[in-house]
Symmetry: C3
Subunit: 269 residues, 3 copies
C-alpha cells in the first residue's frame, strides 16, 4: 500500500509516523457525538489507538466539553433531538471537529442539520462517495450507509466542499481519497472485511478527530486512513470472519507502531 | 436438528436454502428501530448474514426510510419517546415489518405501544413464550427479557395473534415455534449460549425482517430460526465462553451456506 | 492478589465466594440505567457473571421496574433527559442501587443530578478517585472518564460520602478502595488492559448492583472488585490486545468459580 499525495510546497506535511507518535504522547481527549450503533466500537477503537474518548452528547454539556477536548466528532447516524442540539453547541467551541454526514441526502432531518453545521467549518468531512456528493449538492445520496458511487466520482465534490470549509475532505472507499486546498492524497489498501463490520467508517471519522488534535486536518485524515489500512490488513490475515475480524482490528490498532506507517507513504508535493 | 412443519397444501414454501440465497443476492436494506443494548450486535449480525442494516429511528425520517427498506424491525426493548414515534411512522409504510414486543406485559409504556402497533399488522411477531402470551392477553408477561413460560404453552396465543394480524408468529425457546394461518413449524437445535449473550433474540428478529424482504413472512421466520440454530451450534463448538461465542456466532453467520440448511428441514404440509 | 479489610466486629461479612454462589443461585434481576457506550458490554458482563440484566430506562417504566429488580444501577455517562427522569423514578423504589457518577464535577447537568440523587441514599457509590473527590465536594473532577487523582487521595472523600449515605463507596484504580461506616478494604490486582476497553468500570458498577441484591452493600462492592481483578488477570494472560482482552474477560467472568475468590481474601475486622 502506498499513499500518493500531491500538494503545493507551502503546505507543511507531518508524516503518519510522526502523527501517530504525537497522538500516543498526548492521548488527546476526543469527544464523540455519534450514533447509537457504533458508540462502543468507536470508543474502543480510540482507546486502542491511544486516544482518550468521551461520548459527551447532551445539550448543556456538549459545548463546554468541546472546549476541553482536543478534537470533536459529529456523526449524524442516529441524530436524536438532543444530539442535534449537542452538535450545534459543540461545533461552536473552536475545537477542530469532524463531520460524518451519514446517509445524508435522502433523509431530511440529518440533511438539514448537515448543511447547517457546514457553516461552522468542519476541519474534516468524512463520508463515502455518495454522502460527499450529496452534501456538495451533486448527488442524491446513497442507500443508507451504503455508497452507490465510486470514490473518484466524488473528487470534484470533495474539492468544492474543502474550498467552502477551508478544511480537508476524506472520501472513504476501496481507495481512500483525501483533499484539501493544497493536496490530493489517495490511500489504497485495507480490507473489505471492514465493510462487513458496523462502525468501521464511523470509527475512522473519530480517529480523524483524535489526530486533528495533534496535526493539521489533512494530515489527520491521511494518517487515520493509513492506520486503518494497515490495521485492517493485518486483522484480516488472522480473521475467520467478520466477528473475529472486529476483535483483531482493535488488537491491531493497539499494536501498530509509527514505523509500520512510514514505508506506506509515497508522495509528491 | 430437524424442522418439522405441517401446513395446508395451498401455501407456497420456500426452502431455507433458497431463502438464504435470495437474501445474499439482494442484500435487502433492513431498517431497525431497536433497543440501545443490542443495536451494534444486531447490525453486525445482519451484515454477517448478508443483509444491509440501517438503524434509522428518528421521527421525520423513519417513515420515509421504511418506504425504501425491504424489511423493518420494531423492537421495544428501550422505547424512548422518539423511537415510539419513529415506530408509528415506520409501520405505516407498507413494508413487511417485524414486531419484537420485548418485556411486554408488565411494563405499561411498551405494552400500550405494542397493542397500538398490532393494528398495523406486523408480518411477523417474534418473542419468547411469556411475551407472546402477554401480547395475546393470555399471560402476565415474563421477568424482563426472561421467559417464565415454555414455548408450546404459547401455541394458542401465537395462533390467535397470527389470526389477528394475518401474518406469522415466532415463539423463541429451546425449540422455536413458528405459526401462521396455514402452518405450524418447530425448529429445534441451537445453543443455550445464545441466551448468555445479550441480543441473540433481538438480532433474530432483525434477521426475520431481512428475510421478509425476500420471502413470505412464515418462510422468513422459519429460515431465520434455522440459520440461528445452525450458526449457534457451530459457534458453541469452538467457544470458551459467552464472549468468544458471540464473536464466533458472527463468523458462522457469514460462513453458513444455503446447503447447510437443507438437511435440516423435514416437514409435512 | 489479596483483599485487605479492617472493620468493626459488629459488621457481618459475607465472603466473596459465598456472595458469588448466592448470585448464581438467584440470578438477580439487575436494572441498568446506563450510558449508550457501554450498555451492550454491561449486559453481557452481567449475563456472563450469572445475573439477569434489564436496561429499562424510560420514564413511566423505570420506577415500576426498579420495584421488581434486585439491584439497580444509575450510571451518568450519557444522561439524556429521559434517562434523568428514569433515574429519579428508579431510586425511589426502595431497591438497593448503585450510583456511578461518570465525569461528575466538570459537567453541570450530570453534576446537578448526581447531587440530587445522593439524597436517595445509594447503597453503593462507585467511581474513580477524581469522581469521588468531586462528588464529595473535594475536587474539581477528572478529565472525562479519566482520573487525575490517586485512589487513596480519595479516602477521606469516600468516607465522607459513606457517612452521608449510610452505604458503601468504592474508588476504582490500580488498587480498588472500598469503605463503609465500619470497614476499609483494598482490592489490588487486576489488569491495566481493563482501562483500554470502554465500560470496564461501568460494568463493574453494574456487577455491584447485582451483588447488592444478594449481600450487603460493602460485601457487594468488595466481591465485584475481587471478581473483576481475578477475571481481568486471567483474560490478560491470553489476550493479544484490547479487542481479544474484552472477549476473554467475558469468558472469564462466566468461568470464575467461587473457590477462585477465597484465596484472594485476607482481612482483619
Amino acid at each position: 500500500m502506498v499513499v500518493r499525495t500531491s500538494s503545493s510546497p507551502s503546505t507543511p506535511i507531518t508524516s503518519p509516523a510522526a502523527a501517530l507518535s504525537a497522538l500516543r504522547e498526548s492521548a488527546p481527549l476526543t469527544q464523540c457525538i455519534t450514533n447509537a450503533v457504533v458508540t462502543n466500537f468507536t470508543a474502543n477503537a480510540l482507546l486502542a489507538l491511544g486516544a482518550s474518548p468521551a461520548m459527551c452528547d447532551i445539550p448543556g454539556e456538549a459545548g463546554m466539553f468541546a472546549g476541553l477536548a482536543g478534537g470533536v466528532l459529529v456523526n449524524l447516524g442516529t441524530p436524536t433531538a438532543e444530539q442535534r442540539d449537542a452538535a450545534r453547541e459543540a461545533v461552536r467551541a473552536g475545537t477542530p471537529w469532524v463531520l460524518d454526514p451519514v446517509a445524508v441526502g435522502a433523509l431530511p432531518v440529518r440533511t438539514a442539520l448537515a448543511h447547517e453545521l457546514l457553516d461552522a467549518r468542519p476541519a474534516i468531512i468524512r463520508g463515502n462517495a455518495s454522502e460527499i456528493l450529496a452534501l456538495a449538492g451533486a448527488g442524491a445520496g446513497g442507500r443508507g450507509v451504503d455508497t452507490t458511487d465510486a470514490t473518484d466520482d466524488a473528487l470534484g465534490a470533495a474539492r468544492a466542499l474543502a474550498a467552502r470549509t477551508g478544511g480537508a475532505v476524506a472520501v472513504s472507499g476501496p481507495i481512500d481519497l483525501i483533499v484539501d486546498a493544497d493536496r490530493t492524497a489517495r490511500v489504497p489498501g485495507g480490507s473489505a472485511l471492514l465493510t462487513r463490520v458496523t462502525g468501521g467508517g464511523c470509527a475512522l471519522g473519530a480517529a480523524m478527530a483524535a489526530f486533528a488534535a495533534v496535526v493539521s486536518p489533512v494530515d489527520a485524515a491521511i494518517t487515520a486512513s493509513v492506520v486503518w489500512a494497515v490495521a485492517s490488513e493485518r486483522a484480516a490475515s488472522a480473521a475467520r470472519g467478520p466477528g473475529s475480524f472486529a476483535v483483531a482490528f482493535l488488537d491491531e490498532l493497539a499494536a501498530v507502531r509509527p514505523s509500520d506507517l512510514d514505508a506506506r507513504v509515497e508522495g509528491s508535493r
